[in-house]
Assembly symmetry: C2
Homo-oligomer: 149 residues x 2
Amino acid sequence: MLDPFDDAHFMRKALMEAEAAYEKGEIPIGAVVVVADRIIARAHNLTELLNDVTAHAEMQAITAAANYLGGKYLKECTLYVTIEPCQMCAGALYWSQIGRIVYGARDHQRGCIEMGTKLHPKTTMEGGVMEEECSAILKRFFIEKRNLN
Amino acid sequence: MLDPFDDAHFMRKALMEAEAAYEKGEIPIGAVVVVADRIIARAHNLTELLNDVTAHAEMQAITAAANYLGGKYLKECTLYVTIEPCQMCAGALYWSQIGRIVYGARDHQRGCIEMGTKLHPKTTMEGGVMEEECSAILKRFFIEKRNLN
């Protein structure tokens, strides 16, 4: 039987967040936090609008999820994010003790894997879910930005 | 001539923030952001009160400083923080392209040096300013906490 709540399902929701960022002229990265097949937080990158380097999708999603749960640890949660988290976001996820991280496309330059950021020992991470779509929207953004300048 | 605005001067201000955290039952870590000998942001750890692992002193200070400056980069700024930044905060400081980081005491367990977090190539970092005082308030907090449990 097909699982309606598979990783691709939730990554599609994270991609919808990335599209919302795109519409605002933000680097299009989106994230959702899921617990027991329910989305408890949605967020997209807002660094330009908020004038704040800390306003990555994952950071806002962590804060929103903790707010929803009423506790700051996200042990039972999965974060879906369209692009591999950076050092800052992986560091925040470390403190949250999140159960699982699923990303779409790798960030070979500034991602936590390349940077060697430590995850919490209880956290598992996997990637490549809807990789092409997650990567494509980012490429489209940067190509359009380059053509505007 | 003595410089009234030396590193110890600003670290004392960061320590006052750590004391404010202590009074609230928060892990006592404080930070200030300085540009041209002026403090433009002050913050202390609020992870318990805000129920949010991202509410470290440095994160709030970065957001507040960018808000004050009206731009998200802190290239001309120095961050003074009582304890060496963690992966998350060092990652945020990377994105901010901050000019200089000065910390009081090392965090040999979860600090960015031990964790191998990358700083921005334009950022310099030094430590050991008022190290004993910065370390002492943290030790006092954990001893008292242990005795309460």
